[in-house]
C-alpha cells in the first residue's frame, strides 16, 4: 500500500481549497510577522547578545523550520514569490550559521555552545528533525538542496556524537521528531545511514541504555513493549508515527503490533469525540483510560494533528477504514478548531467546554478562551499551516489494482497506476453535504471507497470500504446521508455521563453563550424535536437549529428546591465545533443534556 502524496493532488475548489487559500494568503505571512517580532528568524543569525530582547529559545529553530516547510508545500502547488523569497533568505541564514562541524542550533550556538547534547530535554534533535522535514520538503518543491546539505552534514555530526564517539550525554531524544524526519530523508536519498539512525534512536528508547526512563518521554519501556499511550502527547504520536514508518520499511511485525495496540488504546480509551488527545494540562500528557475532562482538556493542536499523521501511516500497514474515520474526526473537529475562521490566530489547547467565569478561580489551570497569533512556545501555528497545506496527503492510498478513497475532499489527482497514467477526481460537499461524485480515468481498477462510520445508508464490502470495479471514464455517485445524531460516550467517561454530543456527518457541533445565553450546562435538547440545518450570516457557516429546553433561573429564590418540571422551550443554535470562539469570549459546550418526553 502506497500513499498518493499531496503534490499529485489538486484541490482547487470546495471546503479545503478555501482553507488552503486562507493559509496561503493570510496565515503564512501573519505567522511570519509574529515570528519576526519575537526574534525567531533573527536568532538564526547567531548575533543575539546578553541584555538584548528576544533571547533565542531552544525550540525556535523548529518554529522557523515548520514555517519553511509550510512554504515549501505551498510552493509545490502555487506560485508564492513572497513566501519563496522569505524562506530562501532564512535558509541562507541557517546555512551561513551552521558550524564547521555540521552543528546548527540558534540557541546553543548563541548561548551555550559548550553544552551541546548535554540536556535531553533541550530539543536539539527535535529542532533538527523539523529542519530535515523542511529540507526534504524544500528540495521536493523547489529543487534547491542548500538546506538539504545543511541537514545532511548535521546528521553526520549527530551520528558522530551519538554513535561513533558517543560524546552526547543522552541516548535518545527527549522530544521525538527526528525519527520520522530521518525516514523522510532516507526515502529521498536512499542512504541507509538515515534509516539506521532512526532505528537506533527508536530502538534504544526505554531500554537500559536510555538516559532516564520516564513515561513523560515514552521512555518507560522499549517501544515494542509499549501498549498504552503515555506521557507528553505530541512526543508520543510523533514517536508512534516513526514506529509505523520503520515497521513498514523493515517489516517488523512486533513493531506493527505495538503501533496498532497504541492506536486502539488512544481511540478507544483516551481520545475526545473531536479526535483531540492529551487530556492532561500538567505535562501536556495523556491521562488514564476514560479520563477526558472537557473544561480542563489540554488537547494540544500539535497532538491532534499528530494523531492524524500516525493514522495515515497506520493505514499503510492495515487496510481498515477505522484510521481514515479517525482522521476525518480530527480534521473537521479537534484539528480545525485550532485556527480562527479569519486564519490569523490559533489555539494551543482545544477545550471541549468553556466557562469564562471559571477564570476567576485561582490556582487552577483553564485553557485560554480566545485564539492568539503567537505563543511563547509557538509550535502549533506553523504545524497547522503545514498540515492544511498537505491535506491532500490524506485522500488516497494505492495498492495492487486498488485505489482507496479515504477522505471526501474535492480534488483531482494524477498518478501512475499499474504502469499507466491515471486520473481521479472527487466532487463533494463535505463536511456539510454527503453527496460524492467520483470520476475515474485510467485502467480497470478496484475503487475502495471508505464508508464513513456515521453513515448507515450503505454496507461496507471489505474492511469498512465499499468496493467498486471501475473502468476508464466511469462515474460513481454516493450520497453519504448526513443525519443529525446524538452521540453518547462510553459510560466509563465519567465526565460525559448523561450528556450527548450533537453530530451531523463528520461534524461535531457545540453551543455558544453568544447564541444561547449563559449556563449552557442546563440546556437540554428535546428528544424527537426538530433539528433543522440553517445558516449563520456572521459565521458564514451552516448551523443547526434544534428544539430544546432550559430551566428559568430568574424566578428562583432558593439555591436548592425539590425537583421541578418547569422548563422553558427554546430554539438552540448549534454551530460546528471548529468555529467556536470566533465571536469573542463566551461559554461553549459540546456535551449537552437530552430531555425525553
Amino acid at each position: 500500500m502506497k500513499n498518493i502524496s499531496f503534490d499529485k493532488v489538486n484541490i482547487n475548489s470546495g471546503f479545503w481549497a478555501d482553507k488552503q487559500k486562507l493559509v496561503r494568503e493570510v496565515s503564512m505571512m501573519n505567522v511570519c510577522k509574529r515570528f519576526e517580532e519575537t526574534g525567531r528568524f533573527e536568532g538564526a543569525k547567531l548575533n543575539w547578545k546578553e541584555g538584548q530582547p528576544n533571547k533565542p529559545h531552544v525550540f525556535y529553530d523548529s518554529d522557523i523550520a515548520k514555517w519553511i516547510e509550510s512554504a515549501a508545500y505551498i510552493l509545490a502547488k502555487h506560485d508564492a514569490p513572497e513566501l519563496r523569497e522569505y524562506a530562501s533568505n532564512v535558509i541562507d541564514t541557517i546555512a551561513a550559521s551552521q558550524d564547521e562541524d555540521g552543528y546548527y542550533n540558534q540557541y546553543f550556538q548563541t548561548c551555550e555552545n559548550d553544552r551541546r547534547f548535554t540536556n535531553r530535554d533541550a530539543h536539539e534533535l527535535y529542532c533538527l528533525g523539523h529542519l530535515i522535514e523542511a529540507a526534504v520538503a524544500w528540495y521536493n518543491a523547489v529543487g534547491e538542496d542548500k538546506l538539504l546539505n545543511v541537514v545532511e552534514e548535521y546528521v553526520d555530526y549527530v551520528i558522530k556524537c551519538f554513535i561513533t564517539d558517543k560524546t552526547a550525554k543522552f541516548a535518545s531524544p527527549g522530544h521525538e521528531e527526528i525519527e520520522l524526519a530521518l525516514v523522510k530523508l532516507y526515502d529521498l536519498t536512499k542512504e541507509e545511514k538515515y534509516l539506521d539512525l532512526a532505528l537506533h534512536f527508536t530502538n534504544i528508547r526505554g531500554t537500559e541504555n536510555d538516559t532516564d526512563r520516564v513515561f513523560y518521554n515514552q521512555s518507560h519501556l522499549p517501544v515494542r513493549k509499549q501498549r498504552t499511550a503515555e506521557g507528553h502527547s505530541v512526543r508520543a504520536v510523533y514517536l508512534y508515527s516513526a514506529m509505523v514508518d520503520l515497521a513498514l520499511r523493515t517489516d517488523d511485525e512486533e513493531l506493527k503490533e505495538a503501533c496498532i495496540d497504541l492506536y486502539k488504546n488512544i481511540t478507544r480509551k483516551r481520545m475526545y469525540i473531536t479526535g483531540a488527545i492529551g487530556s492532561s494540562a500538567s505535562g501536556e500528557m495523556f491521562s488514564y483510560d476514560y479520563n477526558l475532562p472537557n473544561i480542563h482538556a489540554y488537547a494540544e493542536s500539535c497532538a491532534n494533528l499528530g494523531l492524524a499523521l500516525f493514522c495515515r501511516r497506520l493505514n499503510l500497514l492495515d487496510e481498515s477504514s477505522d484510521y481514515a474515520d479517525t482522521i476525518e474526526r480530527i480534521i473537521y473537529n479537534g484539528f480545525l478548531s485550532s485556527i480562527s475562521l479569519d486564519g490569523k490566530s490559533f489555539f494551543y489547547e482545544n477545550p471541549l467546554e468553556i466557562d469564562p467565569a471559571l477564570l476567576q478561580r485561582r490556582g487552577e489551570h483553564y485553557p485560554i478562551t480566545q485564539r492568539l497569533e503567537v505563543f511563547g512556545c509557538s509550535c502549533c501555528p506553523p504545524n497547522i499551516t503545514r498540515f492544511i497545506s498537505t491535506i491532500g496527503d490524506f485522500i488516497y492510498n494505492v495498492g495492487d489494482n486498488r485505489v482507496y478513497i479515504n477522505q471526501f475532499i474535492s480534488n483531482s489527482a494524477e498518478f501512475d497506476f499499474m504502469g499507466e497514467k491515471a486520473n481521479i477526481s472527487i466532487e463533494s460537499g463535505f463536511p456539510y453535504d454527503g453527496k460524492v461524485k467520483v470520476v475515474w480515468n485510467g485502467p480497470e481498477a478496484e475503487l475502495m471507497i471508505r464508508l464513513p462510520f456515521w453513515c448507515d445508508k450503505y454496507t461496507a464490502d471489505e474492511n469498512g470500504y465499499i468496493k467498486k470495479t471501475v473502468r476508464n471514464g466511469d462515474i460513481l455517485c454516493f450520497d453519504f446521508e448526513m443525519k443529525t445524531v446524538l452521540y453518547e460516550a462510553d459510560p466509563r467517561v465519567q465526565e460525559n455521563a448523561g450528556r450527548f454530543a450533537l453530530t451531523r456527518g463528520p461534524l461535531i457541533f457545540c453551543l455558544e453563550g453568544v447564541d444561547n445565553g449563559s449556563y449552557l450546562r442546563d440546556v437540554s435538547v428535546k428528544a424527537d424535536g426538530n433539528m433543522i440545518m440553517g445558516y449563520d450570516k456572521d459565521l458564514d457557516l451552516p448551523i443547526m437549529i434544534v428544539d430544546g429546553y432550559r430551566r428559568k433561573h430568574s424566578i428562583r429564590e432558593k439555591l436548592y428546591q425539590p425537583v421541578s418540571d418547569e422548563y422553558v422551550n427554546l430554539k438552540l443554535k448549534f454551530i460546528p465545533y471548529f468555529a467556536f470562539a470566533n465571536r469573542g469570549e463566551t461559554e461553549m459546550l459540546i456535551w449537552t443534556q437530552l430531555k425525553r418526553g
Copy 2:
C-alpha cells in the same frame, strides 16, 4: 431574644447523645495523643531548640486552646477526670510560659520573640482569641480563673500594642477570631474595654487605616459595606459571627443589615446543599456566585461549623426560621461528614464527590479521600470536638413570653423563664424519624416550633415557626413527615445541571462505589421508582434502597456511539452523606441523574 446555653441542656439519649459520648470517650484523647506526638503541648513549655523535631508553629496554641475549650464543655456536663487533669496541666504550662508583659505565643516566644505583632498573617491574635474562648469556657465549667487571668493580662498587652502605644505593625488580625472571643470575655466580665477592643478590630478592618486591603482577609471594604462573602471562608464566618455579636450589643442597624445580606449571599449563592461553604481550595476561599464544584470542593470543616455559629447568632437578631434550617442542613451533613463514625479521624475538606482515579492526574488539587487523625494544620479536629460538645446551644432561644425550638434534638432543659423555673423536654427520632414530642413545665408560654423547610405537612404561623400556646404540663406531638425527595440546584450552578440530590428530612444521601460499583456519574435514579428505607449492618445506619439504572460498559467496543436506550436495572444503595468514606477509599457521589420513563 436570648439563647439558652448548652449547659442548661441535658442531652442524655438519642442521636446527639451518642455523638457527644463518642467525642467524650474516643475523639478527645485521640486528638490529645496526636497533638502530643506532634509537640503541640510540649511547645507551650517554650523549650524547643533549633535542630529538634516538632518545631512550634504559629497556630499551635489555637489547637491546644480549642482542645482545652472542648474539655471544658465536656466537664460542664460530665465527670471526666482524665480530660480535667490533662487540661489543667496544659493551663498551668501556659500560665508559667506567659511573659511578664502579658504576651504568650509558643511559636514567637520560642522562635521569633523580637517579631511579635509584625506579621498580620502569623495568627497571634487568632491564637489569643481561641485562648480567650478556652479561658471563658474553663472558668464557666470548672470555676478556675488561672487561664482567665492569663488572657486578661494578654489582652491588656494587646491594647497597649494596638491602641495605646501603636507598636504593632498591622491594624487588624489577619485571621479573625479574637473579635468574637472578646465579646465572650466582655459578656463574662462586663469590662467595656473588651467590647471596645472587639469593636476596634472590627471597625478598622477594610478602612484606610487597615494594613493591606485584600479580599482574602475580608479587608477589601469596611465591614458595614461588605455584602458578599469573600476570601478565606473560616476567617469570613468568624468575622461575621463577631459582627452579629457586636450588632446585638450596640444595636447597630447598619451592621445588622450587612450581616443579613452576607448570610443571604452565602446561603442563596455560595453554599453547598450539605451546608458546606468555601468552594475554592486555592486560599481556602469562597468562590464567585453559583461556583460550587463537587469534586474540587474545599468546604473546610471549620468553615461549615463556623457558618452554624454565624447562623445561631443571626437568629438572635432576626426571628426567621431560615437560620435554624441552615443550621440543621449543616449539622447533619456538611459538618457531620467531618468526623469518622468511630470518632477517631477527621476531614479538613468535605467534597461532595470523590473519584479516587483522579488522584492520578498531576498538577491538580483533589481533596484526600480518607479522614486523618491529625493534620499539619490541625484546626478542624478540636473545632469539631468543641462544636459537638456544645450542640445544645442550637436548640432553644427565648424571647419575652416565647420559647423557640430550633433543633429537634432529644434533650431536657431547665432555665429561668418569665421569673419562674421552666423545664422543657424534647424526644425526637431526628435525623431519621420526624416524630417529635415536646413536654412543657412552666408558666403559660408561646412555643415557637420551627417547621423544617423540607416538611409540607404543617403550615407555619409566623416566620417559619408553628406557634402553640402551652401551659404547665402540656404535651405537644408533631410528625414532621420525612419523605424521600430529589432536590435540584439553581440552574446557575453549572456543576449540578441535570443532576439531583436524594434527601430525606434533614439528611442528604450519597452513593458510594463500595455499594454501587464504579463510574457513579452514570447511575440514574428511576423517576417514580421505589425508594425504601433500609438498614446497613456494617455502617449501623439507616440507608435508602432506590430503583435505578446504569448503562453497561462491559459490552462496548467504541468510545462514542449513537445514543442508546439500553440500561440495566439495579437497586441503588444511598447512605447518609455524613457516613461516606468510612469503608475505605471508594467513589462517592451526591448529585445523581434522574431517569424519567
